[in-house]
Symmetry: C2
Subunit: 490 residues, 2 copies
């Protein structure tokens, strides 16, 4: 090994660049690039704009989400500069989804925690890790269409199966570390040495992507002299940062503006079936005990931070990278740097902390939260869960769902409407791609509450006051037990 593998072409000191074009113009067509951001939060918008203007193409891009339309990563997608996107959430971008279905772009879907862990491992000189995330799903089995044939007829490239290995009676999958040629990241402040500081949930994937690249290009809102940042407050040490520039212009759009009205009522989103959704959320909230740490997933779960009495001291975790998420903000107090997993504007409670997406995923995968409250498309009688792909309606978007249900230490409560367009969502066997097997402990719909832990059988334990038992039977796709002590759902 006497040769040193890296001819140190990138130079030693961090280079301060004048502008975004200077910083990214040597990126060649065909490069592998990690791009920070989560939704519209913490996105290296200036670097992306420059790359768009330069027209660099055939890019392999690693990114948490596909962001918002007409801005950020979407500029590169629209302009067909991306050859392959490796992401957790592709579902939000209609342009991308059309290109994908037409066989114009490749998609590698990776669970959010596995993506973060793989980027982390790559940067840390760890060639592979094992994780429980994705066991029993398409992630393990492969055969996910990475690329459709031109025109969308048939599949040209499928994903491969993962190597499986058992540790202490738990199945796990091997996931390999990822290194990239470049990372484009965005921080709040950088010092002239290259040390970076993030603001709130804008850290997300930027932290870890700083570490995985041969050349890390950081854009910041402010450059400060070295010595101004306290050594204890630095999120990314300068050793990881090779180029730095002050972004020319920050739009920092808000993807989902969610506000409280003057009367503390929800004023936007969540309007369809709001009464039913609130009923579900209120029932789920009853499972929360004082002082608990609770992970809130997408959809109905997002309403729970609005419902639970702050006096209970509950800490809500959001995989946008925060613990201690509060209610939606009042108008004028929204902050583009403070979002939840659904990419809605939220507030932070006293005692909140913000951290990277990698740490966020370590928290759920490591089983450090007491309760997960998550969404569902289908739940089987065995407690299998499908909640990431609804063909025809919702593009594939694994997100953090598989990571969240991967820990055997945390109780999983699924909150969902009982049916979808009259079709049962509680079924014998899930027909939609799975998120996890036998992972649901409790299921709450607008019609009742089911328990999966009583004798390992699906058991109706509570029934909504306006619902008759037969009505539930009619809209449930499988048999279920009825608890001898069936209670009204309150």
């Amino acid at each position: 090994m006497h040769g040193i593998r890296r001819a140190l072409r990138r130079g030693f000191s961090v280079k301060i660049f004048e502008n975004s074009v200077d910083a990214v113009e040597d990126i060649r067509n065909g490069s592998r690039i990690a791009i920070g951001g989560y939704g519209a939060c913490g996105v290296p918008e200036n670097s992306i704009r420059a790359l768009h203007n330069l027209g660099t193409y055939d890019l392999t891009a690693y990114t948490a989400t596909t962001g918002v339309l007409g801005w950020g990563l979407d500029l590169l997608i629209r302009n067909k500069q991306i050859k392959r996107l490796i992401t957790s959430h592709s579902g939000f971008n209609t342009t991308f989804n059309k290109q994908y279905m037409a066989g114009e772009v490749e998609l590698e879907l990776i669970p959010e925690g596995s993506l973060a862990a793989r980027l982390y491992a790559g940067g840390a000189g760890i060639p592979a890790i094992y994780t429980k995330t994705g066991v029993g799903t398409v992630v393990e089995e492969g055969q996910f269409p990475i690329k459709y044939m031109p025109g969308g007829h048939g599949v040209e490239i499928y994903s491969g199966a993962k190597e499986k290995r058992r540790f202490r009676s738990q199945d796990t999958l091997m996931e390999e570390g990822i290194t990239t040629e470049y990372s484009l990241i965005k921080a709040w402040k950088g010092d002239t040495k290259g040390n970076l500081v993030f603001r709130r949930t804008a850290a997300n994937f930027n932290t870890t992507m700083a570490q995985c690249a041969r050349v890390t290009i950081a854009e910041v809102e402010q450059i400060v002299p070295e010595g101004e940042l306290d050594p204890d407050d630095i999120h990314v040490p300068a050793v990881y940062v090779h180029r730095l520039f002050k972004g020319e212009f920050y739009e920092k759009p808000i993807e989902h503006l969610t506000l409280l009205s003057e009367s503390n009522k929800l004023s936007s989103r969540h309007t369809t079936d709001l009464a039913h959704k609130l009923r579900i959320a209120r029932r789920a909230a009853k499972e929360i005990e004082a002082g608990m740490t609770v992970h809130l997933g997408l959809g109905i779960a997002g309403l729970i931070a609005h419902i639970v009495d702050p006096k209970l001291g509950v800490m809500f975790h959001s995989n946008s990278g925060a613990m201690g998420v509060g209610d939606y903000p009042k108008s004028g107090l929204e902050d583009a740097d403070v979002i939840n997993s659904s990419r809605e504007t939220v507030t932070l409670l006293n005692g909140a902390s913000c951290f990277s997406s990698n740490e966020s995923m370590d928290i759920v995968r490591g089983g450090h939260v007491d309760l997960n409250i998550i969404s569902g498309f289908q739940v089987s009688q065995y407690g299998d869960l499908a909640n990431w792909y609804l063909p025809g309606k919702f593009a594939p978007s694994i997100g953090a769902n598989m990571d969240v249900v991967s820990s055997e230490k945390t109780k999983n409560i699924v909150t969902m409407m009982h049916t979808m367009q009259s079709a049962p969502k509680i079924v014998k066997e899930c027909t939609l791609p799975l998120t996890g097997k036998k992972c649901v402990h409790m299921l709450i719909t607008e019609k009742g509450v089911f328990d999966f832990t009583r004798e390992n059988t699906l058991t109706l334990v509570e029934i909504a006051k306006d619902v008759r038992l037969n009505e539930i039977r009619e809209v449930t796709g499988c048999n279920f037990n009825i608890a001898s002590d069936l209670k009204p759902m309150d």
Copy 2:
């Protein structure tokens, strides 16, 4: 998996305890405990004192170092409360070493980066990782004596061999995640919610040990109300912390007080052969270019931060958890929370950053530093290095040495005296246990400079002015080439 594996016995909210005894008294004999700290820095001294007073025994303890005599972990060692110590540095504690050699205590030696990574993985729900650290050494091969027979005659327990696997033409070892029943950690400040903040290099293993335990017990110098710590400045989110108390008393001793005299001269340590050691350090310093990031190991390397012109903007990395280590402090400016890898008091330069030991090891293992300057006991003609175990003189202490040389991206310069008690240290084959194979690129002694990269052969490229070639031949244990352009060592 419908049962949830953890009956949540530890409670939800962080509990604020009145004192150290209350916080640790339920720890049973035979428990597995991670104990934070590096040398005398960031040590949970109050928890340890309480455990010592309670007399809890048969403990399996995970710790970075064995600390200093008569204080901290040594209280438990002396009192024979430890059954097995899992550590990177056992060499510093003479009491422990006597017990170990007499078969009274078990020792599992793990490279510092692998220990950090295993604790990290355990906390993050990752059952195993692969690492290049330790390939070709006793870590891979096993047969390290974990326990000697009573009286020290023969070996009762040997370490096992590690599973090896090749990734992209690099051999790696599988290392399993570690979880513990308890962690005792020490932070600077904690808020009433349980969020923690560290000061300078006192973070070290405390950060990662907060994550690996079923019950994490944190002691702090100050408790502040929730909301007082900025969410962006929190090092350990409250979700990891189950018990918190304000330490009754902090001694915070300094292990190696290293000071600059008024005239900026070194006033302590490094007195033996100081002139020769400074010659070696000065020559090594010439390899450092402006803006480089350089890892400094133990011994002679520690002198280099004292030598290099601060104007060069070089950032020195220390595996005590800092980037940007400066010179030794002047008297009165020493800070028990600011130490280097040799556990000497140092200063931090403008632009410095402090981080956990896990991040520190990710930085070296990931190949993010440009240059490693490290110590050596033996270097073979092939560039093999032995620098962690000198039987009879220096107890086994792998430290971070194997992690530091594990990256193929970083140049390794060994600085050492040419001989030890007249015996050659440059040899045909290392007879001491290896740190790494074929990992040395350059070797600097007080007599000359050797290059290992020219035609993959040991080549003398510089010779000290007061030394003749024959003299080098006589004290070198193997043949070497002489560069056609042999230069004076300056």
